[in-house]
């Protein structure tokens, strides 16, 4: 029997690594997830989009405001906050980070890759923890750097009008780091939704619904009820940590709000973990 051109007739028993390499460990699964994350073109583009959005949006807004500073109303001038503008790119980057968070795991379900992942790490939870860990770390580092770039860029632009802040000013450093933290937890929440729903469209719909549609629905409720629920909505709770200051009582305190947001993410991730272990792949 002659073998087809492409292939050796018989796979020689290669002096393989057989048990020599040892078994599956959490650290090894993390390394595998790192490789997986960066080896998809869609991931690289999404992360690039998030970085550009986070770094550039604030700078563009600041430049536009400064160019027509003279024609702004006194109220607009009084409420201009170079810290908020400096980190404000998250209004755009959050979408990229959220969608990619869903995709990191839903993409494995849609392609069948999850079966390979779980065959390699049959205890399953290490796969979820590794995905969360890698994605959270990458998001935090990239978003922190992007937020810093944006922050300093904005300060340089507004310094002509003496509106600049230093990182040492009240709330500044907290807002910059808080932006990265907020986006990191948001990414984890989205990943959890993707794992829970095992479906890209469903995961993205749930993410957008929870973060951006729910506030609109709550706004339809009678004022008093809406007002008491509103601060606890994921997005409103989350923003507290990424914003320099809040006026009025319509928001939770900075770290309380962030803790509530982390709570939502933890609930979703926990539900995803339970399901990952219990349900057939």
């Amino acid at each position: 029997m002659s073998a087809p051109a492409l292939s050796p007739a018989v796979p020689g028993r290669v002096a393989g690594p057989a048990a020599a390499g040892g078994g599956v460990t959490q650290a090894r699964v993390v390394r595998a997830e790192w490789t997986k994350l960066w080896s998809l073109r869609s991931t690289r583009w999404s992360l690039l989009a998030a970085v550009v959005a986070q770094a550039a949006l604030g700078i563009i807004v600041a430049a536009a405001q400064m160019s027509r500073w003279g024609s702004l109303s006194p109220h607009d001038r009084a409420t201009f906050d170079s810290i908020d503008v400096g980190v404000g790119g998250y209004h755009l980057s959050q979408l990229a980070i959220g969608v990619l968070g869903v995709l990191v795991i839903s993409g494995e379900y849609s392609t069948g890759m999850i079966r390979s992942s779980l065959m390699a790490a049959p205890r399953r939870l290490p796969v979820l923890w590794a995905k969360l860990g890698v994605y959270a770390a990458v998001t935090f580092v990239l978003m922190l750097v992007s937020a810093l770039v944006s922050f300093f860029g904005v300060q340089a632009i507004v310094s002509g009008h003496h509106l600049q802040h230093g990182l040492g000013d009240p709330h500044a450093l907290r807002a910059v780091v808080g932006t990265a933290l907020f986006l990191t937890v948001l990414g984890a929440l989205a990943l959890g939704l993707g794992a829970l729903l095992r479906n890209t469209a469903g995961g993205i719909a749930a993410f957008v619904g929870l973060m951006f549609v729910l506030p609109g629905v709550v706004a339809l409720l009678p004022g008093s009820i809406g007002d008491s629920i509103s601060p606890y909505l994921p997005i409103n709770a989350a923003f507290t940590v990424a914003t320099s200051t809040f006026d009025g009582p319509h928001h939770l305190a900075t770290w309380t709000g962030f803790a509530v947001f982390c709570g939502y993410a933890a609930i979703v991730v926990l539900a995803a973990a339970v399901q990952l272990v219990r349900r057939d792949a």
Partner: protein, 314 residues
């Protein structure tokens, strides 16, 4: 060694596997046969810890799959459905799989060469043809150099060259003393590669036997066609002794229960002229269909035959 003990799997109302027990022994190729929907893929997914049995236990080398410390070194699998991210290159897919076990990069290159994907290893797996996808799946399965390999319908949809390639590869794996467990609908495919057979239908065990035994059964049913001007005399001479003679046309006999050698000897002894003495071929597929006859879930209207029957000389 794979041990399936009283395994039942239910998907809602659907009973996919029903109290199934069998053992896949080390060092030989075991074929896993059954009609569509018999529960082959389900059983394989349970072996690999992807689906949990509703009842019963599945063990690989004495342990549940999920308790294996280094599963890729113990058992490699090619699933029915693709299990590869379409956006990732073959090389990166294998690298990520390897990293979970601390398998060195050099082994990734080795298996890529082994399956002949060197030229396309950097391309997206989504752009692969069916055959290339199967090769990549097999590279995944062999990555950890496992003693046991399980493959779910590896030749499905492949062209003749691909089928030949897989067949050669499986024989090579078996020759190296690995345990091979592979599923198929085609008895003929199994007869070429497997030594042992596990046949299921509607989730139940139908036969746990050797290929040799099935072949023997099939050949017992085979007839010898005889054309002779002395039909009546030959019929009398052959009569008795469990020999059955039928005649489909004048001067033509179908003889069952006696090999062609004996028929020829008897004719010579009696001085009868023979114009033709042809052992008819018994189809393995027929033997298999008889075994699974009642268990076929989705009958075609006319009980259509699988193409490509392996005919064998009785």
């Amino acid at each position: 060694m794979i041990e399936i003990e009283h395994v039942t799997k239910r998907y809602g109302e659907k009973l996919a596997v029903d109290d199934l027990s069998f053992v896949v022994r080390p060092g030989i190729v075991t074929g896993f046969l059954g009609p569509n929907g018999a529960g082959k893929s389900t059983t394989m997914r349970m072996i690999l810890g992807l689906d949990a049995p509703t009842r019963g236990s599945v063990r690989v080398n004495g342990r549940r799959y999920r308790d294996l410390a280094a599963p890729l070194h113990e058992i490699g699998a090619l699933l029915e459905a693709r299990a590869i991210h379409t956006g990732r290159s073959a090389a990166n897919h294998l690298l990520a799989m390897a990293q979970t076990h601390g398998i060195p990069r050099s082994r990734v290159d080795e298996v890529i060469d082994l399956v002949g994907l060197r030229d396309v290893a950097r391309k997206r797996a989504g752009a692969f043809s069916l055959g290339m996808g199967q090769r990549l799946g097999i590279a995944s399965a062999l990555l950890g150099d496992p003693r046991t390999v399980i493959l779910d319908e590896p030749v499905n949809g492949l062209d003749p060259e691909g089928i030949l390639w897989i067949r050669t590869l499986l024989k090579g794996l078996a020759a190296e003393g690995r345990t091979v467990f592979l599923s198929s609908h085609l008895m003929s495919e199994m007869a070429l590669t497997a030594e042992h057979l596990v046949i299921i239908g509607r989730g139940r065990l139908i036969a746990d036997t050797t290929v040799e035994e099935v072949v023997r059964q099939a050949s017992l049913d085979a007839a010898v066609r005889v054309r002779t001007p002395d039909a009546a005399a030959l019929r009398d001479a052959l009569a008795g002794d469990g020999v059955i003679v039928e005649s489909s046309a004048a001067g033509v006999l179908e003889v069952r229960g006696a090999p062609s050698e004996r028929i020829g000897e008897i004719a010579a002894r009696e001085g009868l002229v023979l114009h033709e003495l042809t052992p008819q071929r018994a189809s393995l597929e027929d033997a298999y269909l008889r075994l699974t006859g009642d268990a076929v879930e989705y009958h075609t209207g006319d009980g259509g035959r699988a193409a490509g029957d392996l005919e064998l000389v009785a």
